[in-house]
Every structure is written in C-alpha cells, then in structure tokens.
Symmetry: D2
Subunit: 386 residues, 4 copies
Amino acid sequence: MTLTDSLVDFFLETRKHTENICAPLEIEDYVVQPIIDVSPPKWHLGHTTWFFEEFILKPHFKGYTIFDEDFSFVFNSYYETVGKRVVRSDRGNLSRPSVESVYAYRTHVTQAVKNLFSSTQSQELNDLLEIGIHHEKQHQELLLTDIKFILGNNPLLPAYSNSFKEHPVQNEAQEWITMDEGIYEIGHNSDAFCYDNELGRHKVYLHSFQISNNLISNQEYITFIEAGGYKKFDLWHAEGWDWINQNKISAPLYWHHIDGTWYNYTLGGLQKITLEAPVTHISYFEAFAFAQWKECRLATEFEWEAAQAFLSWGQRWEWTESAYLPYPNYKKADGALGEYNGKFMVNQKVLRGGSVATPISHTRHTYRNFFQTNLRWQYTGLRLAK
Amino acid sequence: MTLTDSLVDFFLETRKHTENICAPLEIEDYVVQPIIDVSPPKWHLGHTTWFFEEFILKPHFKGYTIFDEDFSFVFNSYYETVGKRVVRSDRGNLSRPSVESVYAYRTHVTQAVKNLFSSTQSQELNDLLEIGIHHEKQHQELLLTDIKFILGNNPLLPAYSNSFKEHPVQNEAQEWITMDEGIYEIGHNSDAFCYDNELGRHKVYLHSFQISNNLISNQEYITFIEAGGYKKFDLWHAEGWDWINQNKISAPLYWHHIDGTWYNYTLGGLQKITLEAPVTHISYFEAFAFAQWKECRLATEFEWEAAQAFLSWGQRWEWTESAYLPYPNYKKADGALGEYNGKFMVNQKVLRGGSVATPISHTRHTYRNFFQTNLRWQYTGLRLAK
Amino acid sequence: MTLTDSLVDFFLETRKHTENICAPLEIEDYVVQPIIDVSPPKWHLGHTTWFFEEFILKPHFKGYTIFDEDFSFVFNSYYETVGKRVVRSDRGNLSRPSVESVYAYRTHVTQAVKNLFSSTQSQELNDLLEIGIHHEKQHQELLLTDIKFILGNNPLLPAYSNSFKEHPVQNEAQEWITMDEGIYEIGHNSDAFCYDNELGRHKVYLHSFQISNNLISNQEYITFIEAGGYKKFDLWHAEGWDWINQNKISAPLYWHHIDGTWYNYTLGGLQKITLEAPVTHISYFEAFAFAQWKECRLATEFEWEAAQAFLSWGQRWEWTESAYLPYPNYKKADGALGEYNGKFMVNQKVLRGGSVATPISHTRHTYRNFFQTNLRWQYTGLRLAK
Amino acid sequence: MTLTDSLVDFFLETRKHTENICAPLEIEDYVVQPIIDVSPPKWHLGHTTWFFEEFILKPHFKGYTIFDEDFSFVFNSYYETVGKRVVRSDRGNLSRPSVESVYAYRTHVTQAVKNLFSSTQSQELNDLLEIGIHHEKQHQELLLTDIKFILGNNPLLPAYSNSFKEHPVQNEAQEWITMDEGIYEIGHNSDAFCYDNELGRHKVYLHSFQISNNLISNQEYITFIEAGGYKKFDLWHAEGWDWINQNKISAPLYWHHIDGTWYNYTLGGLQKITLEAPVTHISYFEAFAFAQWKECRLATEFEWEAAQAFLSWGQRWEWTESAYLPYPNYKKADGALGEYNGKFMVNQKVLRGGSVATPISHTRHTYRNFFQTNLRWQYTGLRLAK
C-alpha cells in the first residue's frame, strides 16, 4: 500500500464519517442558522466538498466537470482570493441547493478525487489532499456542535442521539502538578500533519508554576454560581461584565434551572447535570472569572504544552490565558490557503486540548484552537493554574 | 344542505388549498425566514391550524386531545391574550417540528373540526369557523408571497411553478374617470363575512376628483427610473429618501438589470419584464414618488371605494394615501380575536383591491389591507388620481 | 406705518425674543444634544439666522457680505436643495462656532435684513420675511422644550427660571360637548399667515360625536398608572406596547416617583406634581392607551377643528387620531421652501391646539403640528372624545 | 525638603499643568464628546479631581467638606466599587456642572489635599498621592488627544495652539539593529513609581531578531497608500479588513486629500503633511497591514523592551504585536484601585514608548500602554521588526 493509497483511504473514511454525523438529522435540521457563529449542516457538507473541488479538482484535474457553477458562490466561506460568496449571516436563508443535491455534489466530488488520485500522484497533490482531509475533520467537530446548538435552542429540545457520551466522569483526586522554571520548546516537531500556526518550533522561558491535573467539574461550577460568582464585578474583565449583563448570562450555555435543580441540554436531550463531569459550554470570560474567584488563573498555552504530558486531556477544549498570536518566524502559506489561519490572529484566545467532539486523528498536543472570548457553543472547559 | 354543511365544505376546501400551494416545495423551502416580515411556510401551515385548535377545539370540543402541548408556544403569532410565543424573528431558526409532523397536526385538527361540527352546531361556532377560514385565506396569500421571497432571494433563483400567472397584460387605453363632489357611504354593508375594520358604515364628503382606469405599467415605471426618479429627492418623503439611500434601492423588488435589459424574478423563474403588465413589488414610498413625478397623487381609500365600480381591479394591491385608522364607531371584538386588527392601526397605510395572490372569495371592495410604508414583498401596485 | 414697517418691527421683536429665551442659560447649555430630536440652543440660534441669510439676503440683497461661508454647512437643517449639511446626529459634537460668534452672526443678519427692507420693498420680500418670522417662532417653541430636555436630563436637575408657568390649573367641571352630524369646513380661511399644510379649505362629513371640555389632568393620569395602565397590553397598539417595554416606560417624561410621591422636573426645577394641571409630556401611544382605558378615543383633527370654538385650549398640544396627510388639493411651494412641510407627511400624527411654549402669535385653530408617535418632549396632552 | 514636600510640589505642578493644557479652549470646547472614546475636557478636569477626593480626602481627611455630593455620580469613570455613575456615552450630554464650577471644585480639592499633607504624613498617603498624580498625568495625555479630536472633527477645523510640535522630523538613516537570542529580564525594577501592570519582573526567552532604529515616516506611509495598501485584503486581518470597509478608511485619522496633496489636521490647524515626520494616528490594523506589505512584522513588547536602549523613542506610541496580558505573578491591588488595570487585560494590544503628548515624567521604558485594535486618536505609530 503506497502513501497515496492510505491517504485516499483516509480521505474516503473522512468523507463517510461526515455523513454519518448527519445520519440522525431530519432534512429540516440541515437548513437553519440560529446565530451567525453556527452554520447549517447542509453548508458544512457543501463547503468541505467545495474545498476539494476548488483547490484540487479545478486546478489539477484536466477535464473535470464542475458539478454546478453556482456552488462556488454558495459554499465559499471566507476565501477572498477565490471570489464572491454568500455572506455568512445569510447561510440560514438558503433553502436551495437541496440536501439531496448537496449529497449528490459530495458523491460527485468524492468520486472525482478518487479518480484523480488513481491516475496521478505527486507530493503537491498529497499535501493538498491531506490539508483537505484535516479541513473536513475540523468541520466534523463544528458540525456536531452546530447541530447541538440548532437542536438545543429549539423549544422542543429534541434529542440527536443517545449514543454520544458528552459528559465523562472524572474520578481522580485533584492535585497540583509543579513545573520547574526553565527553557521549554514549543511547537510542532515531527513529519506528521499540522497547521501552519503550530510551526516555528521555538524556545520560551517559563517561571515555575503549578497546574491542576483535573478540569473544573460541574459541581465546582455550581458552587461558583451559588456563591454569586455572576454578580461580583471584581471577578470579571470589564468587557466580560458588560457581556454577562447585556446578555443576561448566569450559567453555562444549555443549562436550565428547573424547580431548584440544574439540568442541561445534551445530544441525548434534556438531562440532569452530571456533577462529576467537567463543566463545559463556558466562555473565556466565565473561565477567567471562575479562576479569579478561586484566586488562581488560567495557564498560558506555553505552560499547557510544557505540562501536557502530565495531564489527562481531550474531553474539553481548555481556555488558556494566551492571545492567539503568531509564533516567532511564522509564515503564512501562499495563495488562498494562506488565508487559513493568519488572518484570524487578533482578538481571540487560544484553546488547547481537544474535546469529545474532536476527531481523534485531529487531536495533538501542539494543536492551537482559537475563539473569541464570548463564544460558548464548543465543548469548552477550564483547568486552573497558579 | 345546511349553512353549517356548506361552511364545513368551505373549510375543507380551504384547508386543502393551503396544502396545494405548498405542493411544489422542497422540504427545505418550508423552513427558512430570510427577513422578519416573511414567515417559513411550515409556520403558516402550523399557525392556521393552531388558530382552529386554540379558538374552536380547545374551548368548544369536550374531550378533544391536544395534538402537542408545545405547539401553542411555537405557532402563536401575536396574541398576547393566549400566552407566550416564539419571537417572530426566531421563526426561521426552528428546524422542528418537522414538516411531516406539521402535516400530521393539520390532519388531526381538520378531522377534529369536522367531527365537532358533525355533532354540534351553533351560530357562535359557525362565526368562529368562518373567521378561521378567512384567517387561513389571508395566510394563503402570505404563503405565496413568502415563498416567492424565499426562492427569489436564493442565489440559484429556482422556479416555483410555471402555471401561476403573475403579470397579466392591461389592454385598455388610459382614461381619467371623474367623480362628483358629494357625500359617499363607506364600509361593509351586507350579511356576508367581513373583518371588524370594515364595519362602521359611515358617510364621507369627497371633493371632485379624477382617478385612472388603469394601474401604472412596468413600461411607465421604467420611464420613471430612466428619468432619474430614484435620484430626485424632491419627489420623495424625507423618510422615503433615507430608506432608498440606506438600502440602495433603485428599482422594484425582484428586478435585475442585466446587460442593459430589465428582468424580474417570477414564480416561474427569472424572466424579461412584461412591459404592458402593471408594475408590482413597490413600496408606498415608491408609489408616492412616482405620483409626484407625474404631478398626480394616490387616491384616498374613500375615493377608491367610491370609484371602484368603474375600475378594473384585483391584480395588485393598490397603495392609497390613507393611513390605516379606525372608522367612526369602530369597536374591537372581545378577547383574543380583538387583537386581530385594531392594535395595528398606527403608522401603516391602507391598500385596496386585492392581487393575483388573493383567494377570490377573499376579495371584496370594502376590504382594507394594510402594511408599513417600506414593504414590497406583496403584489403591490399603483393607480394615479388627481 | 406701512405693512413693511410693521413686519420689520415684528421681525425685530421676534429676533429679540429668541435671545431672551436663552438669557438664563450658561454657555455650556447652548452646546449639548442629548437625543437626536433635541437640538443644541446654539444651533437654533444659528439656524433661524441662516434661514434669513439663505432665502432673503443671499438672493435679494446685492452686495451682501456673507458672515461666514462655512455656516451654511453648519446651520442648514434638512434642505436638500441648498446643499450639504452637518448630519442631525452630529449637532451636539460641535463646540464651534462659539456662542459668541453665533450671536455676532445673528446681529449681522438682523441688521442686514433691516437695511434691506429700509431700501427695498416688495410683496415677495414681505412674504419671505413673514415665513422667516414664523419659522423662527416655531423654533422658539422648540428652543424652550429642547432646553427643558437638556436640563431635565442632567443628573443635577438645574432650574431654568422660576417665572415660567407650565402647569396651569383647570378649574372647570368636566362636560361632554355634543357636536351634530353634518358637513363642516376645514382649513385656513383668511388673509393672515398660515403654512401650506393648512391650505386647501375643504368640506368633511362628520358623524355626531362628543368631545370633552377639559384636558385629562395629572390626577386622572395617576389613576391610570395606578390601575396598571402600562401593564395591560390590550390597551396599547402593538407598536406602542413594544415601545414602552423596550424603553421601560411607565410614566410621562420628567416624572420621578420618590418615596411614594410623584414629582416632575419643571423649568423651575424638580417639583411635586400639580394634580389639577393637565397631564403633559406623553406620547401618542400613551394618549391612545389612556383613551382605550376610559373606553373613549381621541378626536380626529377634523372633529377638533369643528369643535374648537367650544373648547378652552392652548396649554397643551393635543394628540389627535389623525395621521398627518395632505388636505385635498394640497400643493407644495416651489424650490427649497417646498421642503417645509410636505415631505414629512407620512407616519406622523397631527396635534392641534398649541402649548404654554407656543408663541401667542403662532397659535391658531387651523394650525397643524405633527410628530412621530413616540415623541414626548413637547408639551403634549390629551383630550377625550367619544 | 522632605519626600512629602517634594511630592506635594509635584502634585501642585501637575494640577496646574492640567489647567494650562485647557487654557486655549473656549468654554464650548469643554463640553462635547464626539465619540465614546473621547471625553469632554470638563470631564477630565472633574474626574482627576474626584480621584483625589474619593481616595484621599473622603477616607483620610477628618472633617473634610465634600464639594458637591452629586459630583461623585458625575465624575466616576468605571470604578464599580465606588457606586453608580453617568454612563460613558452620556458624558457629552451634560451641560452642568458648568466649567466655572468644575474649576472651583479643582481649587477646593487641591487646597484640601495641600492642607491634609501639611498636617498629616504617612507612607500610605504618599502612595495614594503618587498614584493620583500619575493618574492625572495619564489624563493630561488624553486631554490633549481628546481636544485634538474635538477640534479636528469640527467642520471649521479650528487651531488649538501654534506652539505645540507634533511632527518632529527624523533625520537618521534607517538601520536594522540585531538583537541576540537569549534570556532577557522584563518589567519594572526600581523604587520609582510604576503601575501594577509593569510589576512581576520576569525572564523571557527571545530568538534573534532585528528591529528598526526608525519609526515609519509619513513618506513611507504615503507610498503604502499609493501602492493600494488599503485595497489588498491579504495584508489585513479579517477583522481589520471588515473595519476599514465598514468605516470607509483609506488613510490615517486627520488626513485629507485635497487637490492631489495630502494635508493633516494638527493642533495648529490644517497643514500639509510633513513627509519626514513619523506617521501617526493609525490603528493596530493599519500598522499590521503596513508591516505585512513590507514583509516585516511588529515587535513584541518583550523585544521592544529588550532593544529599547538602542532606539530613539518617545514621539509615538508604538503598536506592538503583543496582546495586553498580565505578567507572571501579576497581582491586582485591593479595593477600588485594583480596578485600575487588570480588568482591561483582554482584547487589547500593548503600545510601548510614549508620545509627544505624554508628560515627560510619565515616560519610562517599562510602561505598558494599551488600546483596542481600531483606535487612532492617540499619537500612535509604527516601527518594523523582522
């Protein structure tokens, strides 16, 4: 089996898995966009397909038949290089193309990619295919969290599936792991795939610090709520305080207080909170305020990467104190793919780890996720440092 | 055949017709809400059904089984009396209830109404059924214009159906009909159904005026555009001038200028403008500016009603100069049905006539339609007076 | 004394009176604009002056020296014909021209007008001067109500003057005046000055109605508040209900509830409410809701004008049920002055009467004032009809 | 002379200097607030005074007579601990207290502080006085840049003073200074005054880098504009690209392109751009895009501090690539003064250096200024690194 063969298998498995995620949906669920940060599942299906058509098939497959000229306009996300596109806030206004034709588009492109790679092999094509696969894996995570948002904000609170485990229980006792002062190396360091924002392996100097082995649990977070954490301005950033007050926020996303008991919407429907599970669906502002209340802080992304071997992680994306910035000597890729990461490196925070929704092959300790400080629809969580 | 029997037949025909309107739709088309004024077709199907359940079945059908307790929350429109409801701007965020379950809801309620009337007959029930039927007929018109908006704002411009004639040609030569000064009687004056806002038959004094036998045609409207009508501030209300500039409006809704030719989106897809057809999809602001440009004016609703017997009308809702206000001695109905009309009697304009989308049995010369001055998604048109 | 002489005297008296209104102000009070509907006093002083310079001196005074070329940009209000202008929302951002230079501008223009009329006399000039005087008188009223808003929304609640009587007590017992059904003549009907919107004397047919001799008092309005009037949605227009809820409105403008007692800010400072005085600073929405609560209604402007001779009026601008629309045969003036009234004839309500802030020579029974339905900073009030 | 004596002298000099900055103003200039980021000069005068009254006189001066109880409400800025306050966006709506009474307030408080320190001396009081002085010096800089904004956005473009040199010419040839890889110490390290955000002296590891001896000049920035820098999306952050397009930004703040020549508003009025002076009034987004265009980058704040001894700085606040974050072991102060810095440590960028508007005694190489990425009204500039 050649490298290309195994890459094509990986490609086919990825394409299939995306569709499996959508299997429990009604057609109606594919269409809506309740907030601007959430895209309709139909759009994810089309956009990940467009990526292969635009960057692989159009430039490299002589004689390729474009599925539909209009889809380029419909399924481009933010690539200014590639031309005009539907504005993001309008994605939920599009009833067409139909779900059926989006699936036909997927089949057409998947088959064409397979055909292309059976006849042509090159490092450049392999690299493009690999980034396309990882791009689709990123969207698999978004697909799941967007579906959760769509169903979890529906007044009927319909379940998605009972087989998805979102709230694993942590059993270990809390401990502080002490890390020594000194120079640490940060960044990607192997031949395996990574994004450009992980490159630029470099040294940082860290002062001695302690980091918790555990994520903060729902039980601990309820204690924070009951202690009035959402009402004490001195725990919050000025911007966070405005945000919770303007949006009347007093608990994590998906939490409901019913007759004195805390419930949360899960992919299996509305359920009592699992007290021993790590808290999730909190913003950076909330993570910071909780840490202030505990007289601790969040780790920086460098501290996290230095300590990660001693931590159990992978259930929650963990907010760090680090702003999303380029590593020293960061270079963005040429052309449209250069728009992938660099242009978002302002006013966002880095998250480290990975979540229950992250495809396993997409998780690694150098991965840098990033979001605005008020976003909560991912499986975000919180680990203390001091 | 009793009165009730024929009313039940009318009811069944109406229920069926609503579903026929939706027959050409894909499931996806039932879900979206591109602007706040447009509701998802699924919502219209559910809301017209809820109306019968809420006002007839719940209070009058002993032993009636409510289809789903949550639907009352989902499908209430603006009846504060009846309880909480999904805010209007969120209607397009609801993927559930599914289209299939909304149709099941329709069948359940239609059957229950039929059963109720086969066992119970009363004037009160007949009156409620009649208002429910007319309510659904109103929504049939909205359903069609909302579908047009949903498809006509999709970048793929999909056709709805080729059998719907939106743009009938006017063949008569333009003439001015002169009406004498004097006292005229205005308002509903028979035993047939009407809404409360048409009641309060009363006298008005009209000065002599002239009104055109014809609606303004697309050809005439193009002349207005080409004469710079959208760029001459003195033709417009201050509020209209701000509106066209802020929204970059320079032609009726659905018009596209492609390579020097005017096209418009129709329910049959994108087509060249039919020059001899009456212009449509214009706001009150545009109707007013056109009339100013012609050194004419719009008729008042009283002038229109006085002259209507001499006019050919029914293709376009015609903007009048009249504000939507109560007639002398107007009384609103008691209870929730009192919310039907009266609470909208401010800052809207009256339209008279009826359009190609209006169910025939829903058209009468005393009917008072009303919209905000900037709305264009109905089949609105324009007739000059002086 | 010629007609022109007496007009010039009237002009000089008017110019002087405007300045007298500002006499109690601090320089700082001339500058601010707390909401878009309120203009800084400095702006009123300059704008009324600009009107004479723009429409009389520039076109008719050969050799006139323009005071400052830039003032045309600063002090134009909405005349599109005349060129660019500071947007309305920016008026309060302008610290310059200074108050001192605005007064110098006034003196320069007042003197030039005086000089012009001492050497040149014509009907056209007289007409322009007369409209300029009435324009300034309109602004005198706005000046006073804008000053009240500026000081009444300052946390220090400073007094303007103790000599201004805003809250005259009504002593007459309430009575219903009955008006007969029939034809009435409406509109201006003499050689005296009026605005174009009062012209087009015409007949209307009125059905029999009753109108109250009295305005609604503060005492009656407090009863409405205490009866939960602001919490009963069925009393309100849908748009009014949204407005009070979004803006958290539960009493007239300037009212403060302190330790169980109602106070209001007056030009003399914060004072206990005078219970026997007519209520003021209410929106149309509030006037309508009060009338609904009393199972009455507001009069139309035609009813008001027909009945006015039997009413004591002039303390409060009285909201009517009539929308602000052109009379039959209304014609707007040519040129920039044609922008005076006509372009505002949409989505506003007519008020009749005149208030404690209206210059006496500016009050007449055919005068049509008009405002949007949510505005409250004028001395608006409420009279019932049925 | 004791330490306290010299501190009191420093205090008196600072108080005087603030008033000197305002000497060229008209009273009207003290009042307005054209954008939310700019405060009225009157407010700065009052707020710096309130700081001494609130944190020194009220708690520490037995028998102190509060000047006016209401001023605490008017002049508090963001200290939630201290109570309610005028919302920031309303500062420009306050005509009262008058400028005269604000000066009386200043005199009252200045004298009271002087009296207190003549009778009572303690380390705690000295520390409070010192932070109050530095707080006022910070506001001196804002006062000047706010005045520039108020006058520079007035359509009359009035001059403030001809004696203020904003645009010093750089004469040195451009050179790259090379800094070695290694460990550097960052943060305040003496007994002199500093803010809490400079503390937590700590080590960082820097890779080798080069930094320019010069700031980017107006000439170089014009070349960027003429090369289409504002039209190339790939130079910009996604958020920056949206910002320039929504706000139609195509040059630094205060720049005017008149008949083919670039002018800028200066405190001396409108003048031709000084080509050899360092560019100023640019946002972080613009600084970043310029650096991208040059295929360079901005320095981090750590690189800047490490290299600063080799740089000539102090004319412009220099945007760095660093987000404003706490140093390791940062601790915020207790009580209200703890609100001084920490709560702003999110979604802002660090600026280093100091500007022509910064009081000299307020400039030091560890000083960390910070602003949102779109702000331009400070004397911000740009230095390249690579």
